[in-house]
């Protein structure tokens, strides 16, 4: 796997592939990120509202809770897990298919470093683009919470908007982006590894895709704990 991170044979081809991957892995994920973020932002807001029974707690804290949940956990980890499913299975099956149809051998016979050519652009694309998805998810999630407030009347718009600006910790965004970058590396390299090493036929490609998704999801959860301890412990 070390072959992934050596200098590309041709920078021009590497840039071209990276742009293609940004499109196929990144731009194509915007829709799903928007949908889940809106709904999760809405649900988090409503759940916080309906669990809040103590009249002494000010209602604007609901906005703060929704915001911090999105910033700290949802937009990085949950979006990461969803992308591990979507992008990870896509990568493992694409590379696995190329393996069993000898397209990887074809690259090697040409003298191309196949692992580098196929995998490095995916890693680069995800590392560059996933932080944008995370930040998008934060905005959309907070917006989803607001939509829930005004459409159900659970909370006034004023309280919510006051809450989402209250006690804002900018470092939470940095923390989330750092996690996202680590997750982006996991989501691309792990399924690529499983796909690259497939032996057999279509059935094995399917298995490699499943294994790639499960393994990268578990690694995301593990690194979530490790990074949280490293970055947030005081």
């Amino acid at each position: 796997m070390g072959k992934v991170f050596i200098k590309p044979d041709r920078w021009k081809m590497y840039y071209r592939q990276t742009f293609r991957e940004i499109e196929s892995l990144g731009l194509n994920s915007i829709g799903i990120v928007i949908i889940i973020s809106i709904f999760m932002g809405a649900v988090i807001t409503l759940q916080t509202r309906y669990n809040l029974e103590n009249p002494l707690i000010p209602l604007y804290l609901i906005g703060l809770t929704a915001r911090d949940t999105m910033l700290l956990e949802f937009s990085s980890t949950i979006v990461g897990l969803i992308l591990a499913g979507k992008v990870g299975s896509n990568i493992a099956s694409e590379i696995g298919h190329m393996r069993i149809t000898e397209q990887i051998d074809a690259l090697e016979v040409m003298g191309v470093n196949s692992a580098g050519y196929l995998i490095l652009p995916k890693v680069t694309a995800a590392v560059l683009f996933n932080p944008l998805l995370t930040i998008l998810s934060m905005f959309v999630g907070v917006f989803g919470g607001w939509l829930a407030c005004i459409s159900t009347g659970a909370l006034t718009s004023t309280d919510y908007i006051y809450g989402i600006q209250y006690w804002f910790v900018p470092f939470y965004i940095t923390y989330s982006v750092i996690k996202t970058i680590v997750f982006a590396i996991i989501i691309t390299t792990v399924p690529a590894y499983f796909g690259y090493n497939v032996k057999g036929g279509a059935l094995e490609v399917g298995h490699s895709s499943t294994r790639g998704v499960v393994t990268s999801s578990i690694l995301i959860l593990l690194f979530n704990v490790i990074l949280t301890q490293l970055l947030l412990a005081k």
Partner: protein
């Protein structure tokens, strides 16, 4: 000239190639023939270095491939073209992009020169007007031709073809064989073809090596092959009872 000396290959403890020594000559179509599972693909991929052999030497013009650095190996591979059994075209790229790929990767040509070279190669394999199609939109024979065009686009010195006829009707198969043989002579390439098709052997077998259960059992050319005394080879050539009876008749009349 490619020479393999006593190469052996094991998979999970099972021996697939047994001390095979063989040489392949420039400007000729060299055939490796044998039943399915006899080890043709493994032998070819071992010569290219896609499989690492467990024993033996592989010499390209007297330079041992196995002792070269990865960088030297990659340089040598730029002189190789390969036609895979399933064509192995990149299915996310169009016909034209497939053929242009090695040029993009390794040449310093301008875009116009590349386009001209691609069109030249497409014309050489009698496939025009397919430039913008994707591999999935082509017939098996057309895919093979695109794969040949891609294999020759960098003017290779060595051309490897793994079962170029598999999945093709006999007539198309003959066209592909003819194309491979013509290209070999035209550009003085050292060509190695794996096949189990006797038609190909008779048509283009300037040098024929017969592999049986991972061992080299016979070598010669297409003129000698029908008279061979090797039992496994005769069994392979005259597979049907009909052919066996015909062979007996010939043997009787000639003795």
């Amino acid at each position: 000239m490619i020479v393999a000396e006593k190469i052996s290959k094991y998979f999970n403890g099972e021996r697939v190639l047994h001390d095979i020594s063989v040489s392949f000559e420039p400007g000729k179509t060299n055939l490796i023939i044998g039943k399915s599972g006899s080890g043709k693909t493994v032998l070819m991929k071992s010569i290219i270095g896609l499989h690492i052999v467990d024993n033996g030497k592989i010499l390209y013009n007297d330079r041992n491939f196995l002792l070269m650095s990865p960088k030297e190996q990659r340089e040598l591979r730029k002189e190789m073209g390969m036609l895979f059994q399933g064509s192995a075209l990149f299915d996310s790229l169009t016909v034209e992009e497939n053929i242009q790929f090695p040029l993009d990767m390794f040449s310093n040509m301008s875009d116009r020169e590349k386009r001209e070279r691609v069109n030249f190669c497409l014309k050489r394999v009698n496939l025009e007007k397919a430039n913008k199609l994707f591999p999935g939109e082509l017939s098996g024979g057309m895919q093979k031709r695109v794969a040949i065009a891609r294999a020759i686009v960098l003017n290779p010195r060595y051309l490897f073809c793994d079962e170029p006829n598999s999945g093709l009707d006999p007539k198309t198969a003959l066209v592909i064989d003819k194309l491979i043989s013509d290209i070999t002579h035209e550009y003085n390439i050292t060509t190695i073809v794996n096949t189990h098709d006797m038609n190909s052997v008779m048509e283009i077998g300037e040098k024929v090596v017969f592999i049986h259960e991972g061992r080299k059992c016979w070598e010669g050319n297409n003129l000698q092959i029908l008279n061979s005394k090797d039992e496994a080879l005769n069994d392979f050539i005259f597979a049907s009872d009909f052919a066996k009876r015909a062979k007996q008749n010939i043997d009787q009349t000639s003795s």
